[in-house]
């Protein structure tokens, strides 16, 4: 049987949060309740493993709203597949992450 690498609960929670629509670091921190020292290194690891992908928001959009541009994170195809596999392992996790109420 092929060995399927598994994600930790924290990594799965972060993947779940990003998939639900919390697409930048601070929002992931707020919804998961995890500290910055956990969330950001975990997101770097997920990005290194090609489970998420980051991209900077267009500067024009941020300038129009007079705020700094954000770095957004998005699940890759491999990340979605991994999340689906991990949800079977952590079935209660989806209920912990509420769907974002308004526009982010």
């Amino acid at each position: 049987m092929a060995a399927e690498p598994k994600l930790t609960h924290t990594a799965t929670m972060i993947l779940q949060a990003i998939d639900t629509g919390y697409v930048y670091g601070f929002s992931v921190m707020e919804v998961t309740g995890l500290p910055s020292g956990t969330v950001y290194p975990a997101m770097r690891r997920l990005e290194r493993d090609d489970l998420i992908h980051s991209s900077w928001e267009k500067q024009k959009l941020a300038d129009a709203e007079q705020r700094p541009a954000r770095k957004y994170y998005k699940l890759t195809r491999a990340g979605k597949a991994k999340l689906e596999a991990s949800q079977k392992r952590y079935p209660l996790l989806a209920g912990l992450i509420p769907v974002p109420g308004g526009a982010q």
Binding site: K6, G37, R44
Partner: protein, 243 residues
């Protein structure tokens, strides 16, 4: 805001230079939102930048100090260390008559006692069926040369900069540690630095397999398997010859 930015800038020093600007831009941007939503938590948020910076420093593929200083080949390594030792010696030449050797010998002895605390003394497993070296003692000669040159650098540097004490002890410990770590990352046949580190396995599969890092000799002499933790089957790093 200034204190928070200072914390982020201090953490940014740990981030590899190539990734620093992007990293700092992300943290500064996030800080702006944290200050807007939860100003009281901003300091705690900024302190979280340090684990992130450490992680990047540890895992950056682009950062390798040995390659930065051209230490890949044994000859280049000895030349660089000899230049350092030579420069260090020349800077203290006029003070040589006043130097007392005994305190330094005692500090070197103490550093050898401290060394097992900061690094493993194990060189790894090199099975006997490997292709024999062209000169069997070459590997140990190289190690001894590195240690001698590093000790000279620290010894002369200590005379120039500070007196005997904890900084010198740390200097000797660092010298021994560096020599050991460098030796463990070299091919036992050609003594070149091993390249292309890749992660193998998963921590959850340690029962029947190992997990850690595998490095290969660019000249094809073999692969080095370095376990992340010692297990009964992989107590220490193991060299597998490709001949």
């Amino acid at each position: 805001m200034t204190v928070h930015l200072a914390i982020l800038r201090a953490a940014a020093l740990l981030v590899p230079r190539a990734e620093r600007a992007d990293w700092l831009a992300e943290w500064k941007s996030e800080l702006w939102y944290v200050l807007g939503a939860r100003p009281r938590e901003a300091t705690g948020f900024c302190l979280g930048a340090f684990p992130d910076a450490f992680w990047l420093r540890r895992n950056s593929a682009r950062l390798d100090a040995r390659r930065m200083f051209h230490l890949e080949s044994p000859l280049q390594c000895v030349i660089v260390l000899a230049v350092l030792a030579g420069a260090s010696f020349l800077s203290t030449r006029h003070m040589m008559k006043e130097i007392r050797i005994l305190p330094h010998l005692l500090v070197i002895l103490m550093s050898l006692l401290v060394l097992p605390v900061v690094t493993s003394l194990d060189f790894g497993e090199y099975p006997a069926n490997n292709r024999p070296l062209s000169w069997p003692g070459r590997r140990w000669m190289f190690f001894a040369t590195k240690v001698a040159l590093l000790l000279t650098t620290v010894f002369c540097g200590a005379i120039t900069l500070v007196t005997i004490g904890a900084p010198i002890l740390a200097g000797y410990v660092f010298a021994f540690r560096w020599a050991l770590m460098d030796q463990r990352r070299r091919c036992p046949v050609c003594l070149h630095l091993l390249t292309s580190p890749i992660r193998i396995g998963e921590p959850s599969h340690t029962f029947l397999a190992w997990y850690g890092t595998e490095l290969i000799c660019a000249k094809g002499h073999g692969v080095l398997q370095v376990p992340e933790i010692a297990t009964s089957c992989y107590r220490t790093q193991r060299w597998n010859s490709l001949f």
